[in-house]
Point group: C2
Chain length 211, copies 2
DNA sequence: CACACTGGATAGTTCCAGTATCCAGTCGAG
DNA sequence: CTCGACTGGATACTGGAACTATCCAGTGTG
């Protein structure tokens, strides 16, 4: 298909497609002449992915890096996943490697009995999220932490359980995209669950075990 | 305390404090003269909260609206929470009220047996997140959906269970801030749980007790 | 052959968040 | 009392990001 059709299929304006092409977020089409190129389904899909990531507020350089990792995953699953997660907010300026720099995150993870590598970016991200909570004067109780840990782990079990194991490349692709793209789904579901739970409790506070 | 101390305590530059003052994100201090005002702990805390929200990438007008709702919650818990959530990404352009406009979200919620109001913004947000998934060529299986629903509901139960019930105002404040501010914590915990689960499974793939 | 379409290059445009500067009033040490 | 540092308030500016628009010359199509 030609650009015009790609534009029509995806709803992305031509100027923006050209921009993404320029920025390396979209691979160039197969050139058939100096002023013509053919695009395929992979371009439609890639544009959809870029839209999803950009819509989540990710800056272009971060998106480019994620796409690079998905396209050319060189390294172990952990390495690549770590690099990909570093492209997701909250962004850390200091890529430290001392566990003591993350007292809050360390306490949480010890409590949950989770293994972790202090160089793994998500540790710093958790630390930062908890520090922000503290600065804003909103406490994070152990009770809540334990419960969160239990359920989040349940979600992670599903994620990993559904991970394709055929090829390492597939697994990496799945893990990178799954982390980034499912988060908005989980957030939206939590917001809706709040409404549901609150409504049911307020309606009949006695029978608090849901269907 | 004076501005200079507020600046020192929070680490926010003076120019930025003035900017937040101008934008109505920070309430003015108690003026003691034409060129002097006194600030208190509430200003430190508010600055921390603004930092947390801004750090999550929320635009200033959205933060202002959230703070307004926290400060002057007029309406029911559901109304206010709905308004607050509308300030959180993903942002919807069309505030529709027809359920049929949200086929994916509707299917999910029906499946989970959750009550929902199509005018509630989070429904549209879920729809959008699912649509983005689809456009990016990443499927959302029923299996995953059910598992997510179960665990997310567990998290929501905790959230609501810990909600203060003394005053409606406290409850609203708690709910609004809890929704916005805990999300990064949950996201970071999920990322870490991925690493933990993956590592444990790869180490000994036999003992996979999954709930 | 005419003309719409294309890739490629380049130059805006818009918005946003923060920063800087200026001013006149005032507090507080000496 | 005086002088200099600090303050609130107003206004102007900056830098970055994500597009968006225009122009051009080559091309495929009817």
């Amino acid at each position: 298909m030609r650009v015009s059709e790609l534009v029509a299929r995806t709803g992305v304006p031509l100027a923006t497609v050209k921009y993404y092409l320029r920025e390396g977020l979209l691979m160039p089409g197969e050139a058939t002449s100096a002023t013509q190129a053919r695009y395929g389904e992979e371009h439609v899909q890639r544009l959809g992915l870029v839209k999803a990531l950009a819509g989540a507020g990710l800056p272009i350089p971060r998106i480019r890096e994620i796409l690079r990792l998905v396209d050319h995953p060189d390294g172990s699953l952990f390495d690549v996943l770590g690099q990909a997660i570093a492209q997701l907010p909250p962004y850390l300026d200091t890529p430290a490697d001392d566990v003591d720099e993350f007292p809050r995150a360390r306490a949480v993870l010890d409590r949950l009995g989770q293994v972790y590598d202090p160089r793994y970016v998500a540790v710093g991200q958790l630390e930062r999220a908890l520090a922000a909570l503290e600065e804003a004067g909103i406490p994070m109780t152990e009770e809540r932490l334990d419960a969160y840990g239990r359920h989040v782990r349940g979600i992670a079990e599903i994620d990993i359980g559904l991970m394709p194991t055929a090829s390492a490349e597939d697994a990496i692709r799945y893990a990178v995209l799954g982390t980034a793209v499912y988060e908005p789904v989980i957030a939206a579901m939590r917001r809706l669950a709040h409404q549901d739970v609150a409504q049911k409790r307020l309606r009949n506070p006695e029978e608090q075990d849901q269907q």
